[in-house]
Amino acid sequence: MTAVLCRHFGLTHIEIAEDIASDTFLKASENWAINGIPENPTAWLYTVAKNKTKDYFKHIAVFETQIKEAIQSNEIETEKDFEFSSQNISDSQLAMIFAVCNSANSTEAQICLALQILCGFSVEEIANAFLTKTETIKKRVLRARASLRNDNFQIKTLSEPEIKSRLDTVLKTLYLLFNEGYFSKSNNQQIRKDLCSEAIRLTLILTENQLTDTPQTNALLALMCFQSSRLAARTNDKGEAVLFDEQDKSLWNKALIEKGNYFLINACNNNETSKYHLEAGIAYWHTTPTGQNKWQHILQLYNQLILIEYSPITALNRAFAFAKVYGHDQAITEAEKLQLTDNSYYHELLGYFYADTDISKAISHYEQAIQRTKSKTEKLTLTKEIKRLTEQTSR
């Protein structure tokens, strides 16, 4: 909603658009509680938002004419309704993401802003996505807003080079949006399917436009399809996470896997290898039955991925794949080199590796993981595992 309103206000008035959007939702919660949910909630919301916007402009108009008579009609009022065409980015939200991904800000700041304004992320969620402190993100977002305002940015049709140069950042934003939905730790909600489907919807629109239908875009979309195919199998009816090995594979969505295959093939029509290609490749192998070379392929893709971009998560996932190929003993040596002692997954992984051979070490690692994780479901799963191991030793 903020995105649509901003189209009318111009980005300089982001705060007003946000205020109106939240006012609208406040009114909805009051009204719907008394009168019930209207037949078409979306239409209801937009009508209210539209009226609020008109009111706002009326106030402004009075103010402007009384104080400064010579004001020229500003771009807000003259802006025409957005036209859908294949040449434009045919989606308000996407158009806004492109607008926010302006090189006046650093790449990180652009992504933060897009996630906050457009995807409704809290500062904490952004900090989680970037593995940084909330304080850093807060400052980053404030600065980024200020610089957009100072430069008087508007949402307008971008030129071809502008779209191309911003595409990388837009893809990264959509990637983080999807991941937050898929790996969500906050809100105590394991999976926020709406974030995932929104990310897929927006990426799909990118593949429908000639300018943005690049191998990277297709690879990212393939990755999202493969991951989403397991959404239903990843949680049980109690909302707890189900580990990959224990998932009911009949719950995997075959249509999405086929879509993933289709986009992955599209992504490979030249020799480009991006991190999205590698991650999609890994996700593809996960959808295949366990064969002799499955994990060797996955390990090799992780080797390439970690060469492109280091991240603790990639390093730990690589160690897991290493264990699948070379066994837990060798994987322990490999994993202990990582020295990610502040990371809960590091301890969880080592606990899992040690569980076969050294139960007391396994338990001590699981305990350290519990201390470091914020997720309640994770604490629960780990506590259960410790209990199981303790009973095993006392038998």
Binding site: L299, Y302, N303, Y310
Partner: protein, 114 residues
């Protein structure tokens, strides 16, 4: 943290083309360094084939090689970071090349100009 270049030398041009299994082991070694966030530059591999190497000397003298002149030839390099040269040496020791085909690795600290 200091930076060290690892310079690889092979004994035989025939060893340059590894088997898929040898390649996997080499990639595991490289991936392991990157997974510890100790890879500064994944470097380059140098082609050893005929016509791919020349040496330029004083007085406009250009010779083929060095592969035709010496048995050991440089096949590539990477740059890693480590606390000290001993750690860099330990990392180099784990390279599968010693078990696979032989050769050697020269470990050199990088001069930093700041």
């Amino acid at each position: 943290m200091k930076e060290f270049a690892l310079i690889f030398r092979l004994k035989d041009i025939a060893d340059f083309k590894p088997s898929p299994e040898q390649m996997q082991e080499r990639m595991n070694w490289l991936g392991s360094i990157a997974a510890q966030n100790k890879l500064v530059d994944k470097g380059s591999t140098f082609l050893p084939t005929q016509g791919s190497a020349k040496t330029v000397k004083p007085n406009n003298v250009v010779t083929d090689g060095p592969y035709t002149e010496i048995k050991e030839f440089i096949s590539g390099y990477i740059v890693i970071k480590a606390d000290n040269i001993d750690e860099a040496v330990e990392i180099a020791k784990a390279n599968p090349i010693f078990d696979q085909v032989g050769g050697n690795i020269e470990v050199r600290e990088v001069l930093k100009l700041y």
